[in-house]
Amino acid sequence: MDLDKDNANPTIINPSDLPSRRRSTPDAKPLGIFDALVPAYYPVALVDPLSSPEHLHDASSSDDDLDREEIDEQEVYDLISTISDPEHPLSLGSLGVVTLADIAIIPPSSPQSRISTVRVLVTPTTSACSLTTVIGLGVKVRLMEALPPRFRIDVRIKQGTSKTADEVNKQLGDKERVAAAMENRSLVSVVSNMLATCE
């Protein structure tokens, strides 16, 4: 049955090797194979060094709290890693389609601007994956729905991973096409199936 799939045998990452705020910092070196055996229940807030500067910032921005709530790469990763692959009953995180290292948050370009950019590079499971656009769309829709509107969401295919990267990038960057896709019932149902596994 799997013959129909573009990639019937994808590489699957062990869930415990996936980045999580609980165990490790994003910049930590990749976990060794035995690290997965270590119980993963450390106190959450204390372990995450990235959160401290934001706490400082939070204290000074009381009137604009909701809007200015800082968001880091790990949070973005958490939002999209649980999206299901449209072909496999697996998450994009476990397939390595999205990785923490390929998420960047670009702050506003000037003091007047309040617009930040989240850039996610997607690595398709095979170079010919015809579902690349759908996966990209799922990631984009998930972030558009979950993040505050001050974030511009740029989802792109990681360079060199797909023959059709330019074409897919242009589609995913086209606001009008994305908007129209989300009014297309069959596409909406594919995407909502993918997102059903997000909390």
Partner: protein, 440 residues
């Protein structure tokens, strides 16, 4: 330095994304295309909603256009993601008498509007235009003939002719674009259509004997062409009237050249540039030998036109630019886009360069027009006499949301300062339509 100042937010706003707002050709109203499948008509006199056009489309209404010269009855076309275009009609209240009531500013403020509220549903559905295979992106009525253009993700541009009321016949299906056609705009005084596309190009179309065909291909943009607008026919004088000084001979020659070439076209793109394109008049058939490769494929020298990039506006936007609008009254340009900025630009006479010794003001013949004579196609500006400056920038025009559209419209509220005053109408992802004045 001028500034852009908030005048009003049209009320009530839409609860979802709004795409564009198109000013009526002579009434003080705009038609706003909404993603909730409706078009809303708002008054620019009191900034309130007059009516809603709903029930005709199954998906987002992406753009609206008004039929020009339709005294007595307003005709609106709505283009939708459901691949159809709808034609809607409504009697203008003042049709019979006066015809002046629409500019009576008291009408919008007091009792006058009350009656209108009851007439909410007087928009009459007239006809649906089917034919496109996928989303219609833009619609436009011709200024000079009873033609309507629609364009779509199906890569085609359709031209419809209104033979008699509500009887539209397809006169052309233009399929040379290699990607979604995002926008169409008619030349203000000639039967010529411009289309901009996802394939990064602009095409100009005219009727050649019996068939519509592409008469010019404008390449240069490095991203989707989101919007275009033609300069007004009379606007070629804008520089002239703007200036209190008398023109130098060089400047006069330049103005004459501009008049001869006719209105220019402005375009904005995903590549974050705004470009101005001009026609090279072809009275002397052999002028441009220099840079143009042998025009071997030119089948009909009279039909093909040569258009070149004349100038690029200063880059202020940091994300894709979704619309650009060229004021028919002042020649100023307004642009907006994904970064939420609204930017106003103005074309000015370039100050004479110090190297050219004497002052531009007084030089009558010293400075020869642009040493590089012929138009270089891709340079910053092929015209050394004028330059574009960003004269006003507003950030976060619709809070943190993207702005999909901005357009000049005549000011119509009671605080209007001069007969010709214009406002900027912006339409955003927040569902709001805002009205702005340009403060000197």
């Amino acid at each position: 330095m001028p500034s852009i100042k908030a005048l009003a937010t049209l009320s009530p706003p839409c609860t979802t994304r709004t795409w564009s707002s198109t000013p009526h050709p002579h009434l003080p109203i705009v038609a706003t295309a909404c993603s909730d499948k409706t078009a809303r008509i708002y008054s620019l006199q009191n900034f309130e909603q007059q009516s809603t056009i709903s029930g005709g489309h199954k998906r987002s209404v992406r753009s609206c256009a008004w039929k020009p010269n339709s005294r007595g009855e307003s005709v609106l076309v709505t283009g939708s993601f459901d691949a159809s275009a709808g034609i809607w009609r409504r009697w203008e209240n003042n049709a019979g008498g006066g015809g002046k009531a629409e500019i009576d500013f008291t009408g919008g403020m007091a009792g006058g509007e009350e009656g209108e509220d009851e007439d909410e549903d007087e928009w009459r559905f007239a006809v649906i235009l089917d034919g496109h295979d996928s989303e219609i992106k833009c619609v436009a009525f011709a200024a000079t003939s009873p033609l309507l253009a629609t364009c779509s993700r199906d890569k085609s541009v359709w031209i419809w002719e209104e033979l008699e009321d509500d009887n539209f016949e397809t006169v052309a299906v233009l399929q040379e674009h290699e990607g979604d056609v995002k926008c169409v705009a008619w030349h203000p005084s000639e039967e010529m259509l411009a289309s901009g596309s996802y394939d990064d190009t602009i095409r100009l179309w005219r009727e050649d004997v019996d068939d519509w065909a592409c008469c010019a291909l404008l390449t240069g943009h490095e991203g989707t062409v989101w919007w275009m607008d033609f300069e007004d026919v009379n606007n070629i004088y804008a520089l002239d009237s703007d200036s209190t000084k008398t023109l130098t001979e060089t400047q006069k020659t330049y103005v004459q050249g501009r008049m001869k070439a006719g209105p220019r076209l402005i375009s904005c793109s995903d590549d974050m540039t705004i470009r101005i394109w001009k026609r090279i008049p072809k009275d002397k058939p052999e002028v441009p030998t220099g840079q143009i490769k042998a025009p071997s494929i030119w089948k009909n020298r009279d039909f093909e036109e040569e258009w070149v990039e004349e100038a690029r506006l200063p880059q202020v936007h940091e994300r894709p630019i979704y619309t650009v609008s060229w004021s028919k009254k002042t020649g100023k340009v307004v642009s907006t886009g994904s970064d939420g900025k609204i930017v106003v630009y103005e074309e000015q006479w370039r100050e004479a360069k110090p190297e050219n010794d004497a002052d531009g003001d007084t030089t009558m013949d010293g400075a020869t027009p642009a040493p590089e004579g012929e138009a270089s196609t891709t340079n910053q500006s092929s015209n050394q006499l004028t330059e574009w400056k960003a004269v006003a920038v507003l950030e976060n025009g619709h809070d943190v949301f993207e702005i999909n559209h901005a357009v000049w419209a005549p000011r119509a509220d009671k605080d209007k300062r001069t007969e010709d005053e214009e406002v900027i109408v912006s339409t955003g992802d927040d569902g709001e339509v805002k009205v702005w004045t340009l403060e000197p």
